[in-house]
Point group: C2
Chain length 107, copies 2
């Protein structure tokens, strides 16, 4: 079972950074709003191996303490964000700023 888990992880890591989407209800967002409205939540995920600069190659080999793993290579993150609005279960209009990704990039 352990072997199969490792294989799955390796496969996931090989997909490049891209915009992905999933349908969620507002309540599932976990932000404290309650609504059964379904939203399309877009997020950024995937590897950024192809975007490594000399800077990243240096940090990869860096043994200095205090630099976290996530600072050593490009991050797959949103380049633009989208707002969203919805009606909560009390029929109040709610707006969420920078809710979802619009475009992704390796930064």
């Amino acid at each position: 079972a352990r072997q199969s888990k490792r294989t799955k992880r390796a496969k996931k890591a090989s997909k490049p950074c891209s915009l992905r989407e999933v349908e969620v209800t507002v309540s599932e967002l976990g932000l404290g709003y309650y609504s059964d409205e379904t939203l399309l939540f877009r997020y950024c995920s995937g590897n950024c191996n192809a975007s490594r600069r000399n800077y990243d190659l240096i940090l990869e080999k860096w043994t200095r303490k205090g630099i976290s793993k996530r600072e050593r290579s490009p991050c797959c993150r949103p380049k633009e964000y989208d707002d969203i609005s919805f009606l909560d279960n009390s029929n109040r209009y709610q707006a969420l700023h920078e809710f979802s990704a619009l475009a992704c990039g390796c930064v």
Copy 2:
């Protein structure tokens, strides 16, 4: 000993994302160039807690598999890069593109 290690980590995590610098010799960069010339290598490190958007707050609570920890919150990364040139130990002129950070940000 374990407790003291955890305390140190917690202190480091509380410094916000900023440009830091360290003096290194070219050989220490680990890129396969050999020179005793000393360079100022600038890098980005620190936490980005203050830069969290609704997007990040949603991903933080996200239990969906396949999203890595580093994609769940802003990364402290260079916004601009600097090139550098040096003489290697064979007296050849070498140039490294995007070698060092010039400015950092939470992306």
